[in-house]
């Protein structure tokens, strides 16, 4: 079974703090993704990565950066957390092929106060 794990289920941070969200997958997937999910807006792609040290911006990259130093690990970084980044963050991974279902982690609910 594919397993995608995220470092925290719940996180509370203060405005201006640097926040790290970690995601690890154990299926040797090439692709990894970070989404945020907000009520009424569905899932929006923040960043994705096709390979180690490779990253591409998604639809809403502003205020975020990512790091992929190892194939199995993809980190999302909030350089200076703001209240409008309070959200559910979901990590996913998939193979690099045409029929590529994504496997999701359990999510991290981040609250920025």
């Amino acid at each position: 079974d594919v397993k995608v794990t995220q470092s925290s289920r719940y996180l509370v941070k203060r405005t201006g703090e640097k926040v790290f969200l970690e995601c690890v997958q154990d299926m040797d997937h090439e692709n990894m993704f970070w989404y945020r999910q907000d009520p009424g807006l569905g899932l929006r792609l923040i960043y994705f990565s096709y390979d180690v040290k490779m990253k591409e911006k998604g639809d809403i990259p502003e205020g975020y950066s990512v790091s992929r130093e190892k194939k199995e690990r993809f980190s999302l970084i909030l350089e200076s957390a703001s209240t409008n980044q309070t959200s559910m963050y979901l990590c996913a991974s998939s193979f690099h092929r045409e029929e590529h279902e994504q496997y999701f982690g359990p999510g991290t609910r981040l609250t920025v106060t």
């Binding site: 995608v4 692709n31 993704f33 989404y35 009424g40 807006l41 569905g42 899932l43 792609l45 994705f48 096709y50 998604g58 639809d59 559910m88 979901l90 996913a92 998939s94 690099h96 092929r97 045409e98 029929e99 590529h100 279902e101 994504q102 496997y103 999701f104 982690g105 359990p106 999510g107 609910r109």
Partner: protein, 111 residues
Amino acid sequence: SQQGEEDPQALSIQEGENATMNCSYKTSINNLQWYRQNSGRGLVHLILIRSNEREKHSGRLRVTLDTSKKSSSLLITASRAADTASYFCATDGDNTDKLIFGTGTRLQVFP
């Protein structure tokens, strides 16, 4: 850039009834997928239908795809209380590695 729009936004039914959710999208696709999300959890892949397929079944799930209308439907037959969740369609648009998700249908099945 939202590709998929689900309809209805919310659906309430009794156990044993069928539930139908619809998805419309905007651009050409290679495949369309449906996912399920239990409250506060990650998404789980349910079924994938290729652009050259019209219908696909998996257990109590039936998915149809009409590429001429750019729409898909997910039918859950003989629903159970455990089917209560949000359901999302996702399309690959012009990039086969990325998926674009709709806003989802919240399904409530009452015992």
